[in-house]
């Protein structure tokens, strides 16, 4: 398989390889014909993705991460480090910057790109100190009346001995409670993997969005399958059963808006993905304008209070 392509993208990968070859030898007519085939193939492959294919796109190794988006549409960004108690957690980044001139606090899970960076960032799985840093920066924003943008992309909170010793459960729980009480607008966007409590811990927003190919679930599809069928390899089936795609969660009212991605996924065109994301963030932020701090808190509590199905 060509590097950077998923299995189901293989027909497209072949065409792109062929296009490169044809371009190299200057076969103009052929180039044009293959370009058309590529567009058709893209539409065919990406028009109707299965939930599992979305999971793969959400986890795509070339998918943009928060710092890639911050680089593209947050100006004057200063990263703020540490929870003031134990350590700085590189799996979660936080800082202050501007979006279209408006001061924002931005918080996001950060996966690594290469092996070294992946290890340093712990694959985007925060420890308690990561969540405590996030809350510290969000509370800073609230005290200065700044809106908050969170970008969610994690397989989950890190399951480890140190994380348990330092109160992973308490750290997530406190974020859920205290984030709900912040008297500033919060826009949360799931940009990749919305992995359970570890994702939700920075996603208690007034507006909760998902990128088109992002997923959001209570457990990973592999984890679900291993509980359900004692077979972790049946993620394809459990991804379908859990209804974890943006479109489905929009229908349930669990997310408010689906943010479009470039055809084929955010990884195909980072600049375009960033542009679409920025527009959605600003539109949703503006939709909250005119509300007082207590309106925003009441609205946020009511938003989550309304979620649930029972009789």
């Amino acid at each position: 398989m060509a590097e950077g392509w998923l299995d189901f993208e293989q027909p497209l990968a072949d065409l792109v390889t062929r296009l490169d070859e044809l371009t190299a030898i200057g076969a103009k007519d052929e180039v044009k014909r293959v370009q058309e085939q590529i567009e058709k193939q893209k539409e065919k492959i990406y028009a109707d993705l299965t939930p599992w294919q979305r999971v793969l796109l959400a986890r795509h190794p070339r998918r943009p991460y928060p710092l890639d988006y911050i680089e593209r549409f947050v100006t004057d960004f200063t990263e703020l480090h540490g929870d003031r108690g134990f350590a700085d957690d590189p799996a979660l980044v936080a800082g202050l910057g501007r979006i279209e001139g408006i001061g924002f606090a931005v918080v996001g899970h950060q996966k690594g790109r290469d092996t070294k960076e992946k290890l340093r960032r712990n694959f985007g799985m925060p420890h308690p100190e990561g969540y405590r840093k996030a809350l510290r920066v969000m509370e800073l924003a609230a005290r200065f009346g700044l809106p908050i943008l969170t970008l969610v992309d994690t397989p989950g909170a890190y399951p480890g001995v140190g994380a348990e010793e330092r109160g992973q459960g308490e750290a997530i729980a406190r974020n859920l409670r205290d984030m709900a009480m912040l008297e500033v607008p919060i826009v949360a966007v799931v940009t990749g993997e919305g992995g359970s409590g570890g994702a939700l811990a920075i996603a208690v927003g007034n507006r909760v969005l998902m990128q088109e190919n992002a997923v959001y679930s209570v457990i990973t599809p592999e984890g679900c399958a291993s509980i359900l069928w004692h077979d972790g390899s049946r993620g394809e089936e459990s991804a379908k059963a859990m209804r974890m795609t943006a479109r489905e969660l929009r229908e349930f009212g669990i997310v408010d808006d689906v943010v479009p991605e470039p055809l084929g996924g955010a990884h195909q065109d980072w600049d375009e993905a960033a542009h679409l994301l920025k527009d959605a963030v600003l539109a949703n932020y503006r939709a909250l304008s005119g509300q007082t701090g207590s309106d925003l808190v009441a609205g946020r509590v009511a938003r989550f209070a309304a979620i649930g199905v029972y009789s």
Binding site: G160, E164, R166, A203, V218, A241, I254
Partner: protein, 278 residues
């Protein structure tokens, strides 16, 4: 204090005349256990008990005015096997879902008590459990009654997908409002309490109290073992471990639980009463 081993097999209180201790293997007569708060007379192991027994142990005269007992779970995802699992748990427990809450008194102090049922789909939190917890919190705030939640759970209920996940935010957000009101909330995580319940209301008590040997943690032990590729330290994720690491306030044997709670409430509750408005 004895440190019981992990329970083996099914450890929800069994029916019948004789019980076998999950920790030391001692054979115990039912009446003996009942009069001993379902604590093994030999090794101190605390058997898992259902909501009725906690209500019996904690509330004055064991009396609760239960609310929303008829709230019934739906199957919003049409999730494989969920319907059957619900029916099975409903038959086994006689409840619609895994949470009982209502008004009661403790040492004459009016309280709201909520108790989870680990016997109902693994004590998992879906829409009904989350909604009832949220209502219990709202009621505590509205009536200015201290809130107590006995939490035992495998975590958020997978079969209701993201609806279950969102119950974590729903319940925690309500606790944020309660916190502004000088109405005490005592969380009582008991064996076992893990996952999304630990990562929401169970760890948000003004005071957090557990029972000896209770398993309390966020991630499952097997998940952690799989991640770190080694055996876990002795006593990992027990209530005693949590107390040592500073994540809960006290580990109290079940026979002393009610008295301990009343002692704490008797100091906090007069302040709640004195505050007429916030």
């Amino acid at each position: 204090m004895p440190t019981p081993a992990r329970p083996v097999g099914r450890s929800q209180t069994p029916d019948g005349m004789w019980y076998r201790c999950n920790s030391c293997g001692e054979i115990l007569y039912r009446k003996t256990l009942e009069s001993n708060f379902f604590i093994c007379t030999r090794c101190g192991y605390h058997f898992r008990i259902n909501p009725d027994r906690y209500i019996q142990i904690l509330l004055d005269e064991g009396r609760i005015e239960e609310l929303d007992a008829d709230m019934t779970p739906a199957d919003p995802l049409q999730f494989p096997e969920y319907d059957r699992q619900l029916k099975k748990s409903q038959e086994k427990t006689g409840r619609k879902d895994g949470l009982v809450y209502g008004r009661g008194e403790m040492g004459g102090i009016p309280v709201i008590l909520a108790v989870m049922d680990f016997g109902f789909v693994g004590g998992s939190m879906g829409s009904v459990v989350g909604e009832k917890i949220a209502r219990a919190i709202r009621l505590a705030r509205a009536e200015r009654r201290p809130l107590l939640i006995v939490a035992t759970s495998g975590g958020a209920r997978m079969q209701e997908g993201a609806y279950s996940l969102m119950q974590m935010a729903k319940t925690s957000a309500e606790l944020g409002l309660l916190r502004n009101e000088r109405v005490p909330y005592i969380a009582i995580p008991v064996d076992p309490c893990t996952g999304g319940v630990t990562a929401s209301f169970a760890m948000l008590g003004d005071v957090i109290i557990s029972e000896p040997g209770a398993l309390i943690g966020f991630a499952g032990r097997r998940t952690i073992e799989g991640t770190i590729g080694e055996k876990l330290p002795e006593g990992f994720q027990t209530a005693e471990f949590c107390r040592k690491h500073g994540t809960l306030d006290a580990v109290v044997p079940r026979r002393d639980l009610r008295d301990t709670l009343i002692r704490i409430l008797s100091i906090l509750w007069p302040v709640t009463q004195a505050t007429t408005s916030y």
